[in-house]
Symmetry: C2
Subunit: 152 residues, 2 copies
């Protein structure tokens, strides 16, 4: 009985909706692995479909590939996440999602407080100093200095 139910990268792409280049990229990043056939072409076990599915879902929750790799690495090597694994990981997702929602709602409260104000003052406006960085993206420091001597 041949174990040869492995699939090519093109088939994997068709099954997951990912681009072939993305799958190669994930492998280069260590998120998935594969065997090679005699000609050097990748042969993926079917379990990789589920791993890729997990990657896509985690990305929808805003996880970086680094973070996803870490989550996957917490599973026994080369195993696809089963239901127990998933429940555990999803519990963590759920907590972070709650935090994200809470952050956005706090931002909304601040915005409501400022909507009739319009001061946009560096010193007084509550919008400048949110503890939670809800929309943080991109690189580079975004610090805030408290230094000014006359009004705008």
């Amino acid at each position: 009985m041949p174990l040869g139910r492995e699939i090519s990268i093109g088939q994997l792409a068709a099954r997951t909706g990912l681009a072939v280049s993305a799958i190669r990229y994930y492998q280069a990043q260590g998120l998935i692995s594969s065997e090679r056939n005699a000609g050097g072409h990748r042969r993926f076990p079917r379990s990789v479909i589920r791993r890729l599915s997990f990657i896509r879902i985690a990305q929808q929750f805003g996880y970086s590939l680094d973070r996803i790799r870490a989550e996957l690495a917490s599973l026994p090597e080369n195993r696809t996440p089963n239901q127990a694994d998933w429940s555990l990981i999803a519990g963590g997702l759920r907590g972070e999602l709650d935090a994200q929602i809470a952050g956005l709602m706090a931002m909304r409260d601040r915005l409501d407080g400022c909507i009739g104000c319009g001061c946009l003052s560096l010193e007084k406006c509550a919008l400048y100093n949110p503890e939670d960085k809800a929309a943080k993206r991109g690189s580079g420091p975004r610090y805030l200095m408290g230094d000014s001597s006359d009004e705008i």
Copy 2:
């Protein structure tokens, strides 16, 4: 009475907490403008402080610079946003913030529904087909194909 209350880029940086390089970048992107003195150095009117403040707040709400430029362009040329402007724009922000929150809450509902399931099936899992793309970032197509003939 000299109009010479204009400030240098370094002073502007100190007043807003932005890096000098960021301010130059914003100008290159057409978000702000300036005069030049005899030696070719930038001289900013004070109103630019408020424009930059607006930029920082809008960024916290996840707006791209393109989008922010468009909002600022909707104001009379070279005018700094006043309170009426701000209320109008902030109303729009508020709507989008509501939508973001609603999206994340829907995601949480789906996650709750799936937390004990763990199927991660491309065909059946509700997590795969959210109408709202809450955590959409990065480039490239992420489409989903409905094509599979045997189970994972």
